[in-house]
């Protein structure tokens, strides 16, 4: 579903990604861990072209992200084409980024209405169904500031799901939450994984990574240091840097 080959990304003179090679199979849940500044969030943002990569290649569902290869040359995609690619990829942010001037339901149906051109009746029915699925069937008419952090993040997940994406990206979805609210968000994500959604999850929740993840990737200083099954990486890390990191967080 996702394939990265030697992906590089610079911000000015700072090289944030120094050659990332990764592959995510359909229905796979990949968790990415690593210290802050290791480039894991940047890599996630490259997958839906919120950041442009400087070198290497990145494919989602067999198509290059943000470019078209034609006659041995890369051509940048038009804004419209990039938007079309992003429709297939759902993204959940650390700070939710719900639209504050819209109710939970309006947040969820906005993109289906304006981007996909779904009819209002159908969008509302589907949106209500999605909000029920994340356990917020009684909160459809609440504005984001009337919801707890955990509820807001669940609305954000429903909003991403409303576009029926093939792939879901999670950027530290529980890092901004009070500890007692983390569980409700992870439960929703666990349900998604069980339904066979392909997911890339940048997280600090080692328990979730161990239990739900199919693969665990440890990134540090812009490179993938180690990847493998979560059990193996967490209990028997092969690299010194992985061991040092895990000893601090476990």
């Amino acid at each position: 579903m996702v394939r990265a080959e030697r992906v590089h990304k610079r911000f000015g003179h700072v090289e944030v990604l120094k050659g990332i090679d990764l592959a995510v199979a359909p229905r796979e849940v990949m968790c990415v861990i690593g210290p802050s500044g290791s480039g894991k969030s940047t890599f996630l943002r490259c997958i839906n072209h919120l950041e442009k990569i400087d070198a290497g290649r990145l494919w989602v569902d067999g198509r290059l992200v943000g470019y078209r290869e034609h006659g041995g040359k890369l051509h940048e995609l038009k804004d419209r084409e990039v938007a079309a690619q992003r429709r297939e990829i759902g993204m959940v942010f650390q700070r939710f980024h719900l639209f504050p001037h819209m109710t939970a339901l309006e947040n969820v149906i906005e993109a289906p209405l304006r981007v996909k051109g779904v009819g209002k009746q159908e969008a509302r029915a589907r949106g209500t169904e999605l909000l029920e699925r994340v356990g917020l069937g009684d909160r459809v008419h609440n504005y984001p500031n009337q919801l707890s952090g955990g509820q807001q993040q669940r609305v954000a997940i429903a909003r991403a799901l409303a576009m029926e994406p093939k792939l879901m990206l999670f950027d530290e979805p529980t890092s901004a939450l009070d500890p007692e609210l983390v569980g409700e968000v992870l439960d929703v994500m666990r349900g998604l994984a069980a339904d066979g959604m392909t997911m890339v999850v940048v997280t600090h929740e080692m328990g979730f990574a161990r239990e739900v993840g199919d693969t665990l990737v440890f990134m540090d200083d812009g490179v993938v240091v180690e990847s493998g099954s979560p059990r193996q990486v967490l209990t028997d890390p092969q690299h010194e840097r992985t061991r040092a990191f895990l000893s601090k967080v476990l």
Partner: protein, 318 residues
Amino acid sequence: MAADTTTRSAPPEEIRAVPVRHPGRWVAAAVIAVLVAMFVHMLVTNPVFQWSFMFDNMFSAPVLRGARTTLVMTVLAMVIGVLLGVVLAVMRLSPNPVVSGAAWVYVWFFRAIPRIVLLFFVANLGALYATYDLGFPFDRQVMDLFGFTGDLRFLGLNGNQIFTGFTAGLIGLALSEGAYMAEIVRAGIQSVDPGQTEAASALGMSRSTAMRRIVLPQAMRVIIPPTGNETIAMLKDTSLLIAVPVTIELNFQLRAIGSRTFQIIPMAVASILWYAALASLLMIGQHFLEKRFSRGFGARETRAQRAAREAREVGSTH
């Protein structure tokens, strides 16, 4: 156990303390009361005010027509100014340096020019060209180049007709307002969290949809209060239309009565009362607009939520 017994016993006696006295407050109130009394006394006793004359004349037909012109001019100039401001603000934030530079020059120029000077200039544009044509740029030169004579113009407007009276005033005020509104709208757009645009584009929204549906509605919360100020300033600036001149406007009409009858003060007071009343009217409109665009930012319960809560409460009592 001790905590249990205290919560079960009767609550302690309510505090009934002697309140602190504030003599300073009483003195200040007394001073203000005396000043107000003096002011009212002046209004009642000074014969120059000519109250009955003022009330008889401040609602005469030409004055009412002038008030209507002033209000219509204010609303039209603001509507055009706001639309112009949105376009200029979006241009100003464009990644294209020529587009953004053009918006900057516009704002710089029209903010630098006093409105009365601009109005006078616009009113005299008829002297610059007799007719203003719409057509292809440099049409005569291009036709010349290919050996033809003639032009490619499809609409000709008489300069002395458009740049006069109401239209000239409206053009001048709206162009000037566009510059101020551009800065207000830009501040509003920039006050919206960039995460909102990111979330919108992550959902596959185009730039223009994200601007229209996500960013601008949130920017409105920041844009409306200063726009209310601008509207009230515009109401007052319609009195500058004397520079065009537009004579069917409120201030001109009141002053005309004053100078015709030599009752300067009563008509000046009438002017004050009229503008205060019209400004209050606009402030009421602003209040409702602010309420509309603060959705999701207060703890206020919405209509749909109240209905849902009442339904729940009714359900639970049965």
